[in-house]
């Protein structure tokens, strides 16, 4: 099936070239949505062989994902893989994550670092994720082993069923809520997430968790 690897990126010039080359080596098409970066993200991405869409100003990861989905739909892609720009994820695991969709058994595959491995995960992050898993279970009823894991694959028909409204980080919770609401068939697949000094510096700050919860409670 025609597959697009979608990489939202905001000021990831340091790492993105390497990440795109890794994905390209697996043979999949790559789309980078440059979310208003002020560094060389767009230029490096193009040079590395990705298609690039550029937001003129920063609109958040959720907004960037939606832009990419719009592109995927109008270009006839059947599977969209969400992939991070900071080098935490392993390109060779993309095949593993789309297999359950390609075989027609599932519509969505969610990467799970707790079924797989989370190398070098900081303790505070681990604690917060466990809380978030509990939060997801309470709010959506989904019994997941991981949550807010950006490594996912979606069949385009499942994406048509859902409605995303969150521009910023809270979109990740929204995706899960939509899976639960629409009874979309999903499977969790073990993946490896490697935390490096760089990815940690780029990642979510702890306080953002409160921000996400606020967004979900007030704005949904």
């Amino acid at each position: 099936m025609k597959t697009l690897v979608l990489i939202p990126a905001y000021n990831e010039g340091f790492k993105i070239g390497e990440v795109i080359e890794g994905v390209k080596a697996t043979g999949f098409d790559v789309l980078v949505v440059d979310d208003g970066s002020i560094d060389q993200t767009a230029k490096i991405s193009k040079a590395s062989g990705a298609d690039v869409l550029s937001h003129k100003i920063n609109r958040g990861q959720g907004a960037a994902i939606l832009t990419g989905l719009s592109y995927a739909k109008s270009n006839g892609y059947e599977i969209v893989v969400f992939f991070d720009a900071d080098g935490q994820m392993q390109a060779q695991e993309i095949k593993k994550i789309i297999d359950p969709i390609a075989s027609g058994e599932y519509d969505v595959v969610l990467g799970s670092r707790f079924l797989g491995s989370a190398k070098g995960i900081p303790l505070t992050k681990l604690f917060l994720l466990k809380l978030a898993i509990l939060f997801t279970r309470l709010t959506t009823g989904l019994k997941l082993s991981d949550t807010h894991n950006g490594f996912q694959a979606w069949h385009i028909s499942a994406l048509d069923k859902i409605n995303l409204t969150q521009d910023r980080q809270a979109y990740a919770s929204e995706l899960l809520a939509e899976i639960a609401e629409n009874n979309i068939k999903y499977q969790e697949v073990p993946v490896t997430i490697k935390y490096t000094a760089y990815s940690k510096s780029k990642g979510q700050s702890i306080f953002n968790a409160f921000h996400i919860i606020f967004n979900l409670l007030i704005k949904r």
């Binding site: 949505v33 208003g36 298609d51 690039v52 869409l53 550029s54 937001h55 003129k56 100003i57 609109r59 958040g60 907004a63 939606l66 832009t67 719009s70 592109y71 109008s74 409204t165 521009d167 007030i218 704005k219």
Partner: protein, 110 residues
């Protein structure tokens, strides 16, 4: 009392500003009258604070000042809620524009 004069002068300035906004068409007539009524009520209350005591007694609150504070808080919360909704809508619209621009630029490159 001097405080009454000071407050009334401030309100007169606010009304002048309001007139100016209307003249420059920054606000519509309905908005103008809404604010005008609010400021006029404020002037009446400043000169005759006893009115609030009377109104408070009517709705079962002890002091006029308390009634004024309750109403103010409700109005402020309501306005804040409306502002939040408004900002949210504007944010969404900005995202839509940014998105269509990004998709359009990509097509032009093809």
């Amino acid at each position: 009392m001097p405080i009454q004069f000071i407050l009334v002068i401030i309100i007169i300035l606010a009304v002048l500003r309001l007139l100016y906004q209307l003249k420059n068409k920054n606000i519509g007539l309905s908005q103008f009258f809404m604010w005008l009524v609010i400021w006029l009520i404020a002037i009446v209350i400043i000169w005759q604070p006893k009115i609030t005591t009377y109104l408070a007694a009517l709705v079962g609150i002890g002091r006029g000042v308390d009634l004024a504070i309750y109403i103010s808080i409700i109005v402020i919360f309501y306005l804040m809620f409306r502002l939040l909704i408004r900002i949210e809508k504007i944010e969404k619209d900005i995202t839509k524009i940014v998105r269509s621009e990004a998709l359009k630029n990509n097509k032009e490159h093809d």
